[in-house]
Structures are given as structure tokens and as C-alpha cells.
Symmetry: C3
Subunit: 150 residues, 3 copies
């Protein structure tokens, strides 16, 4: 029997659960961050939103709101695949310290990515954070393919 | 050995499988709902779509199509994180009746969210549905962090 | 005890891990493909991207970049739900050859969908690829509901 189960008895899985929760929390918080900017700038998505505030639609796009939205979308494009790839990666039984290193690298790179994006830090800062996450996912997929077959 | 495994032998997991399937079905149906509106309004995304229907692109955006699209995107932003957070939550072994309550609350809030969004029910109805889902995810993440460590 | 566990000891799960990794790899590669087109066409999302290249924002939308972006979004809308539905499907213990057939059909339909979309193959090619994936997910959800309860 493989001991690479999805259970907190499996130390790799226990660590994965923690880091996956961190990046998922970060992703869901982006929704609230967008709402905060929409209210502050009075830029909403639907007519009923304007009816509640009693205001008129002004501009359809605000650069700050759009920035937070792009940052949120980037999380959906990266964090959700990471958690799914991570679950598969835990199942193929990676070496403990290597796995934890990858989980920490990804989590760190995504938190940094958000700080860089929202504060408009000059490029290539954002590209490097994004790239670090992509490399981690590539290494995990490499490990998965090396231990499974079509 | 923890009995908080991902298996239908674990009652919490069995319930999770059902409710996660409900909200994922709801999310994938949004694609078909968008297609239905695109065809009815003849508002497509790509030139080859217009070549098939033999029509010309009229307006690039239609308010009904855009409403369904926003509703679909909102599901991707909320339902996919919920299912992932839910898997992690099952792994940390929550109390059965508490867990089922959270699964039902989330599922109900998302079905209501879609009805409210598509029928343009005045705010704050949509904001409350959205908020209920966020609170459920927050409680699950709280439970995960209380039982794992970095 | 159910033997429908999430473990590579479960043959259905082992196959799922492989095919889920294929479609997730495909999805994450779409990010890099978008970046490649953004750089080639000099169409970026944020002011700091233009500051790095020392160029001015020209048009805000380029048809090639938008096509790759739509293709990427379509993957997020289909591949991520497939992997989640697939995990639940593995847990309800489907018949091995049926399950592997569904995994292969979905994976094939999504690879074809991308080739069709990026090469602007006339409709209904893209609609058929999309539909095949939706049918596979529908069959999986049917199986899940037939073995779980609210």
C-alpha cells in the first residue's frame, strides 16, 4: 500500500493543506478587495448596484478597480491550478522536504505577486513572481508524469 | 490513524461529494446558459461564429449576455475555491453536523445568488448571497488553520 | 471499506492523476502563450509593462491576444471543473474502463478544442469539442448523484 494518501497522517499532505489554504484565502480575499474599490470609486457592474447607491454610472472602467480585477483573475489562473496540481502531486508521493520547499516557494511567490501588482512595482518584478509560480507548477507536473502513465 | 479521509466511508466526505457536485453542476450549466443567450441575441465572441450563422457582428456587447457572463465568472471565483477549500476542510476532520450545515448554507447561497443575479433583484439581495458564501469559506479556512501549521 | 480512495493504489485514481495533470498542464501553458502574443504584439495590461519595454500603449485590444485569452478563459471554465468533478467521481467508485474512457475523451476534446480555437477552424468544430467535454462532465455528475444523497 502506498502511504501517499490524502490525509493529515501523511506529513506531505498535512503541509499541503496549510499552504493551499493560505493561497485560497488570499484568492477569495481579492473579491472583497475589488468590492472595496468599487464602492470607493462608485464603479459597479450592474444597474441594480447603482440603484442601491442612488448614483449614476460615471465611467465604465476605473484604473484602480481594473488593476485589482486583473490581480484577482491572475490568482484564479494560477492559484486554482496550483491547488489541483498539488493534490495530484501529494498522491504520487514526493519526498517530504522537496514538497514543502515547493509549497513554500509557490505561496511566497503569490503573496509577493499581489503586493507587486497592487503597488505598481516596476517590471520585471511581477513577471519574476509569476515565473517562480509557473516553475513550481512545472516541477510538480514533471514529478506527476514521472510516476503515472496514459 | 485519522478517520478524516477522502472516501465515501467518511460521512462528512460523502455529504461533501454531493453538495460539491451540485455547485459544480450549477457552474458548468452557466456555460450553456451563456451560449443560449449568445445565440438568441446573435452576439458571439469570434469571427468564425458569425461565419456559421451567416450574420454580421452587430453590437459587441449585449446587456443580457454580459449579465450571464458576470454571473458565470462570479461562480468561477466562488464555487471553485469552495470545492478546494472543502476538500481541505474534510481532511482536517470537522464535526459532522457543523460541516453539513456549512455545505448546505454555501450551496443554498449560490443557487439563490444566481436567481437574484439573473432576475435583476434589487440590491442588497445579491450582496447578501455573496456574503453568506464568503462567511462559510472563512469559517472553513479558520477550521483548517486551527488544525495545521506552517 | 470502500476501495474507491484517492490513492495511486486505486487504478481509477492513478489514471485520473495522469489525465488531470495533462489538462492542467495545458491550461497553465495558456498563460505563457498569452504572454508570448502580448510581447510579439506589444499589447500589455498595465502601465508598468509599457514602461519596461519603453513603448507606448498602441491599441488596447489585439485580435490575436484576445483569441488566446478567450481560449485560456474557456479552459479555466472547463478544465478546472473537470478536475474537481473527476476527484468526486473517483470517490464514488466508477467502473475502471468506463472511467478511463471518460478521462481520455475529455482530455482529447480539450486538446482538440485549443487547436481548433487558436487556428480559427470554421464552426461547428469548436462547438463540438466544447460539447464533448460538457457531455463527459454531465455523465460524471450523473454517476456522482446516483451514489450520494442530500
Amino acid at each position: 500500500m502506498s502511504d501517499a494518501t490524502l490525509s493529515v497522517d501523511n506529513p506531505v499532505c498535512a503541509k499541503f493543506v496549510f499552504y493551499a489554504a493560505v493561497v485560497l484565502l488570499k484568492t477569495t480575499l481579492m473579491s472583497l478587495w475589488t468590492s472595496r474599490h468599487r464602492i470607493a470609486k462608485n464603479v459597479h457592474t450592474s444597474p441594480e448596484d447603482y440603484r442601491m447607491t442612488g448614483s449614476k454610472p460615471s465611467v465604465s472602467l476605473d484604473p484602480h478597480v481594473e488593476r485589482v480585477r486583473r490581480c484577482h483573475l491572475n490568482d484564479l489562473e494560477n492559484v486554482l491550478p496550483f491547488v489541483l496540481i498539488g493534490l495530484l502531486f501529494v498522491l504520487v508521493g514526493p519526498e517530504y522536504s522537496y514538497a514543502v520547499l515547493l509549497f513554500r516557494l509557490f505561496t511566497g511567490s503569490r503573496i509577493l505577486h499581489t503586493l507587486v501588482y497592487l503597488n505598481e512595482v516596476p517590471q520585471p518584478a511581477r513577471a519574476l513572481c509569476f515565473g517562480a509560480g509557473q516553475v513550481v507548477m512545472g516541477l510538480m507536473i514533471w514529478e506527476i508524469f514521472s510516476k503515472t502513465s496514459f
